[in-house]
C-alpha cells in the first residue's frame, strides 16, 4: 500500500530488506523523481541512535561521486522514525561485465577520502540500468582511517568477501581489504558463483589456500605469526587459475586483486590504471553508442564473445608457455 511519508514523499513497495532497515521505492511529490527510501527499524533506546546509521549518513553526506550512491535527504517524523532518501537505482549486478571499472573508481574515491568501506558485497553494489552506472552503497560498516592504519575490528565484511589478513587475525589492516572483496565480486560476476565459499572461517581459509596456495614467510612475510594461522595445513600450491577459468580477464584479477599478502595487493588506483581497464574504457564508449539501438541482448552476446575470445587467446598463451617449457 502506498502511503504518504510527509508532505514531500510517498512511500511505495518494499524493494529490499537489510539488517538495519527496509528499503522502499518512493516518490518525491514535488519533483516527481523516483527515489529509494531506507526506513530504519525502530532504534533500541538503550543504545541511542545506532552507530551504523550515524556513520552511513555522515559519510555519504560528504561524498559526491558518480559511483557512490547519492544521499538526497534525511527526514524524521514526530514518532521518532527516521528515513534516508537515496537516488533510486535498479538492483542487479550480474548483467554487466565492465562494471569493474566503475566499482574500482568508486572504491578509489573512498580510499582517497580516507574511507574504508569494509563490507563490499554484491548486494551493496547497485546499478542504474538506464545509464549503465554502478553505485557503491551501504556505508554502515565504513569508517574513516588515519595514518598509519591501526588495528581495526576484525568482525567486518561478510565472510565470503573477507580478506585473508582479517581471517588470520592480523592486528593491522588497510584499504587492501576492500580490493580483496572487489576481486571476489569480480570472480563471482564471471563464474556466477563464489570463488571461495567456506561455511566456517577455517573452511573458508582452507578454500582460499587450496586455490591461491598456502601462504608462507617467503610470499607473505609475517604470515605464520598471525594469531589464526592454522598449524599443520597441507602445503597447497597455487592453482593455475587461468586453467580453471580460462580467462585472461580473471587471471589479472586473481593475480593482483586476490594477492594474499595485503602489502603486495594492487591498490584500487593502480588496478584502474591497468591495461585491461584502459581497453575496457574504449569498449565501454562503443557500447554506449550501441545501447541506443539495441539494449541488453546485444550486450550479452558481445560479452559472451569477449569471454570466449579471452579464453581462446589465453589457452593459446598457455599452450605456447607449455611448449616453450617442455
Amino acid at each position: 500500500m502506498e502511503k504518504l511519508l510527509n508532505w514531500q514523499y510517498k512511500l511505495g513497495k518494499v524493494i529490499g530488506i537489510g539488517a538495519y532497515g527496509i528499503v522502499h521505492r518512493g516518490l518525491n511529490l514535488e519533483t516527481n523523481q523516483i527515489v529509494a527510501i531506507k526506513r530504519f527499524y525502530t532504534f533500541d533506546c538503550k543504545n541511542g541512535v545506532p552507530y551504523t546509521t550515524i556513520r552511513e549518513i555522515s559519510m555519504l553526506i560528504e561524498m559526491y561521486h558518480i559511483n557512490i550512491v547519492k544521499l538526497l535527504d534525511v527526514i524524521s517524523n514526530t514518532k521518532n522514525e527516521w528515513y534516508i532518501i537515496f537516488e533510486y537505482l535498479d538492483l542487479d549486478l550480474e548483467k554487466y561485465m565492465y562494471i569493474m571499472h566503475q566499482i574500482l573508481s568508486g572504491v578509489m574515491y573512498c580510499h582517497k577520502h580516507r574511507i574504508m568501506h569494509q563490507d563490499l558485497t554484491p548486494d551493496n553494489l547497485l546499478i542504474d540500468l538506464n545509464a549503465s552506472v554502478v553505485k557503491i552503497a551501504d556505508f554502515g560498516m565504513a569508517r574513516a582511517f588515519d595514518f598509519p592504519l591501526r588495528a581495526y575490528s576484525p568482525e567486518v565484511v561478510t565472510i565470503w568477501y573477507k580478506a585473508p589478513e582479517i581471517l588470520l587475525g592480523s592486528p593491522v589492516y588497510s584499504t587492501a581489504i576492500d580490493v580483496w572483496s572487489v576481486g571476489c565480486i569480480f570472480a563471482k560476476m564471471l563464474m556466477r558463483q563464489n570463488l571461495f565459499a567456506g561455511a566456517s572461517k577455517n573452511e573458508h581459509l582452507r578454500k582460499i589456500f587450496s586455490i591461491m596456495g598456502t601462504p608462507n614467510e617467503r610470499t607473505w612475510p609475517g604470515v605464520t605469526s598471525l594469531p589464526y594461522y592454522p598449524a599443520g595445513l597441507p602445503e597447497y600450491y597455487p592453482e593455475v587459475i587461468s586453467i580453471i577459468f580460462a580467462s585472461i580477464f580473471f587471471y589479472f584479477a586473481s593475480q593482483e586483486m586476490l594477492c594474499m599478502n595485503p602489502a603486495r595487493r594492487i591498490s584500487a588506483r593502480r588496478a584502474l590504471g591497468h591495461a585491461y581497464f584502459k581497453k575496457k574504457k574504449r569498449k565501454e564508449k562503443k557500447e554506449k553508442k550501441m545501447t541506443i539501438l539495441d539494449p541488453i541482448e546485444k550486450k550479452k552476446k558481445k560479452m559472451m564473445m569477449m569471454m570466449i575470445l579471452d579464453s581462446v587467446s589465453f589457452t593459446f598463451v598457455v599452450v605456447v608457455v607449455m611448449l616453450t617449457d617442455y
Binding site: 541511542g48 556513520r55 582517497k112 588515519d146 598509519p148 602489502a263
Partner: protein, 172 residues
Amino acid sequence: NLSDYTVSNSEEEEECIKLLLDREINVGFQTHNCSHIVIDNWIKCARLNAIAWILKTRSSLGFRFQTGYLAMTYFDRFLSRRAIDSDKWWAMQLLSMACLSLAAKMEEYRVPSPSEFQLEEYNFDSKVIQRMELLVLNTLEWRMSSVTPFAFIHYFIRTLGNHHSPPRNVVS
C-alpha cells in the same frame, strides 16, 4: 613493514592531505557567523565543565584522544548554532553526554551504551539521551566525520622528520 600498509605513494598522500585540508576548512567554524553569538560567563563556565567531564570520561572508558577531541568539536559546533538557556546545567550535561556518545560511535570499536557514561548529578533516561543525540545530529546536519588534527600528525612528523615513518603509537 608498516609503511606498506599506509598509502605507499607520496603523491597520493599529498592528495589525501589536500582533500583533508579542504574538508577541514569547509566544515570548520565560520567566524563571521559566530560573531553575533554572545558568549557570556555562564556559557564559558559550563563549557569548561563539559570539557573537563569529556576528558575525564574519555580516559575512564579507554577511548582514543581523537574521540574526546571530536566530542568537544561537536559540543562547540552545537553551541555555535543553538543557544542553551542560562543556568540549565542539566542541558549542558546532557549535551556533553550526547556529544561523547556520538563521537564514540564514529571512532570507537566497542561503544558502550550511553547509560554507562556516569554523570555525577543527573540521571537521564535513555530515551532522553537518544532525543538529545538526534537533536545534535540534526543541528550539525549529520556532518559528523569532522577532520581532526590527528589526521595530519603522522603526515607532518614524517614530512618534517627525514621521511622516516613515525613509531606507530605516537598518537593513539
